[in-house]
């Protein structure tokens, strides 16, 4: 009984959110103790990254009533992490971040289970990601975000009306910080923009012209990039530069210093060299705390419905005074990653040739062109290439690829797609939209007639 009382008092504040009805709650919010208990029992959250944001996220989730957590990170603890990655101690240096972070939070917070994964995010099968109710991102790279986004969006299925199937939506919360600035966003694939819909939000990395580096360096960064991009190649024929190799970094630093002295440029230090080469941005613990707190609360709201969620992108800037704002971005309906694409039902006997033949001669059977033509949004003519899961089924240009893929023309699409009942192909061609001709790339969900095996897709077959 004592335990029961303890656990009740522990969730006292959370109970205020989860046990009481409210006016600005989600549509399907059902307050009550079951909700709190189910949150513990059935909400499985994956935290991606166990760095500055990841440490905060794990702590925040564990203190917000979540008990089934997992964390994935490929890095080991470095001494420079200790100022803000507060779950780590000096004696942990060299150990995997995910393992130490999981252990520390579990030691501190009763009842929380955290499974650590010390590996690259790409090392896990998609099945691994599909088991979570929500994925929280505490990452510092666009590439990693883009990868997780791609995996999460790949679970998404649409019904024949183009609405996402609820059980295939994998929600994400994404945090990011740079010094005093940060963002927190909510991604509900199929509803709010996915990472790829708004990739333009990320400014391109500043790159210096090579000839400036080679001829007229003016800043310390120019000297470092000269050593990194030009001098390294001259001196180490063929050997790739590895930023995680301290010897390599030391070499670049030494060379950069020589160059800086030659041109009388101050400011080249070892840590600045690391900063430039690895594109390291200074991190501030409190910014991480603010962003992580926002992400965790959004996750709680998404999963329980206890309040309306952020819609859908919050920026925080504490650099000069404080400015914060929520912006509602809209999703790109033609997004190749999260968009629904065009649904096409076709016969298993159709050959690739038949699909691609120049148009007037086929008006009777299921072909990309005439079926796409029925879609008021799309008028595709002259498809020039068909790609299935990275395999080029056919490419009309350039000639070298045409030659390599020509033999596929006489094969059945069904066979080329490994006899799956349904799958996504990408087709390029000329589209006519508002009387304008545009070369386009379309995502097409192909469903083969009579091949649909009732588990996931009864609605697709019915609606096609």
């Amino acid at each position: 009984m004592a335990e029961l009382t303890d656990s009740r008092s522990r969730s006292r504040d959370l109970d205020k959110l989860l046990l009481r009805p409210g006016n600005i709650v989600g549509k399907l919010f059902e307050p009550g103790p079951e909700l709190r208990d189910d949150l513990r029992e059935y909400a499985r959250v994956l935290v991606v990254g166990a760095g500055g944001l990841g440490c905060e996220l794990l702590k925040d989730f564990a203190l917000s009533g979540f008990q089934k957590l997992e964390v994935i990170d490929m890095d080991r603890i470095e001494v420079t992490n200790l100022n803000r990655q507060f779950l780590f101690r000096l004696q942990d240096v060299g150990k995997p971040k995910a393992e130490v972070a999981a252990m520390r939070v579990m030691e501190r917070i009763n009842g929380v289970e955290i499974v650590p994964h010390f590996c690259r995010i790409e090392d896990k099968e998609d099945d691994f990601y599909s088991k979570f109710s929500l994925i929280a991102l505490g990452l510092d790279s666009i590439e990693a975000r883009s990868y997780i986004n791609r995996v999460a969006c790949s679970f998404l299925e649409y019904d024949s009306e183009g609405n996402p199937f609820e059980e295939t939506v994998k929600p994400m919360v994404d945090g990011g910080t740079e010094g005093f600035k940060g963002h927190a966003r909510v991604i509900l694939p199929g509803t709010t923009p996915c990472f790829e819909c708004t990739i333009w939000l990320f400014p391109p990395q500043v790159k210096f012209p090579l000839c400036t580096l080679a001829e007229t360096p003016r800043t310390a960064a120019h000297c470092i990039e000269y050593a990194h991009l030009i001098k390294w190649g001259e001196m180490h024929s063929g050997k790739a530069f590895d930023a995680d190799e301290p010897e390599h970094m030391q070499w670049v630093y030494t060379e950069a210093l020589k160059r800086a002295e030659l041109f009388g440029i101050p400011g080249v230090t070892y840590s600045f060299t690391q900063g430039v080469v690895k594109n390291i941005i200074p991190a501030i613990a409190s910014t991480n705390a603010i962003i992580s707190a926002a992400c965790t609360l959004e996750a709680l709201k998404i999963l329980t419905g206890c309040s309306k969620t952020l819609s859908n992108y919050m920026t925080y800037n504490g650099l000069e005074g404080l400015h914060t704002k929520a912006t509602e971005f809209v999703k790109d309906k033609d997004c190749l990653i999260c968009g629904s694409g065009v649904l096409l039902e076709m016969d298993t006997s159709i050959t690739l040739q038949k699909i691609l033949l120049p148009y007037p001669c086929f008006t009777n059977s299921a072909q990309f062109m005439n079926l796409l033509g029925e879609d008021p949004m799309v008028l595709l003519s002259k498809p020039t290439s068909v790609v299935y899961m990275g395999n080029n089924l056919y490419k009309m240009v350039p000639p070298v690829l045409e030659e390599m893929t020509r033999s596929n023309l006489s094969l059945r699409l069904f066979d080329l797609m490994d006899k799956v009942s349904m799958g996504v192909v990408h087709v390029t061609g000329t589209a006519i939209k508002n009387d304008k001709k545009n070369s386009s790339l379309w995502k097409i969900r192909v469903v083969f007639k009579g091949m649909v095996d009732g588990v996931i897709d009864m609605d697709l077959a019915g609606g096609a």
Partner: protein, 210 residues
């Protein structure tokens, strides 16, 4: 904002009052479904899914839209299913480099077109804007890259380097100085380099095609 469309919430929603035991059942049903799907997929012999990055998809579009100058060819050393690495061969039809054959390697990252393709010149060339390691000084490959640009633009840019070598943005300092101060000498040097020979103390492999 619709909040009902979430998997976790969805399960609650179907619950009758006080049905803790039903959740267990539902999860089990869910598990059974998952198993069934696995079996069905295995029976279909579905190969492991290779998901294409947005960059790869965009590259497919770029490649399908290539409109190369006659002087240029493209090849895919890793076969038809790896377009992320390819080679572009340029045979200038005018200017100092007429008759030469120059091969560039392109490496495209999954973050394309957010990131520019990485381009190197595989052929050792005597050129003010290309150094002896094959680094290329072309603004659209670095500081002026924008996602609206494409592979075609880059190839035209490279082509331009051979018709209009530019001594103001030198990577090969010596070549740039010769071009600026003594274009006749530059012409001689280029001819010597592409036919296979020494320019100063540097040897260049023959890269002329007849």
């Amino acid at each position: 904002m619709r909040r009902g469309n979430l998997p976790f919430k969805h399960k609650f929603e179907l619950l009758p009052e006080g049905g803790a035991h039903v959740i267990g059942k539902m999860i089990k049903l869910f598990k059974v479904k998952e198993k069934q799907r696995e079996i069905a997929e295995n029976a279909n012999g579905r190969a492991p899914v290779r998901k294409q990055s947005a960059g790869e998809l965009r590259l497919h579009k770029d490649i399908s839209e290539l409109n190369l100058p006659k002087t240029t060819t493209i090849s895919f050393p890793n076969g038809k299913d790896d377009l992320m690495t390819f080679e572009v061969t340029i045979r200038p039809d005018e200017g100092y480099y007429l008759m030469g054959v120059f091969v560039f390697t392109f490496q495209v990252s999954p973050m394309y077109p957010h990131d520019a393709p990485k381009v190197k010149c595989k052929t050792k060339v005597y050129h003010p804007n290309i150094d002896l390691e094959g680094n290329v000084c072309l603004n659209i490959l670095r500081e002026d890259w924008k996602p609206v640009l494409n592979i075609n633009t880059v190839i035209y840019g490279l082509h331009h380097l051979f018709t209009e070598p530019n001594y103001e943005d030198p990577l090969n300092h010596d070549a740039a100085a010769v071009l600026r101060d003594n274009p006749k000498q530059f012409e001689t040097n280029v001819k010597r380099a592409i036919s296979g020979g020494y320019v100063g103390s540097l040897f260049f492999q023959k890269c002329v095609q007849h």
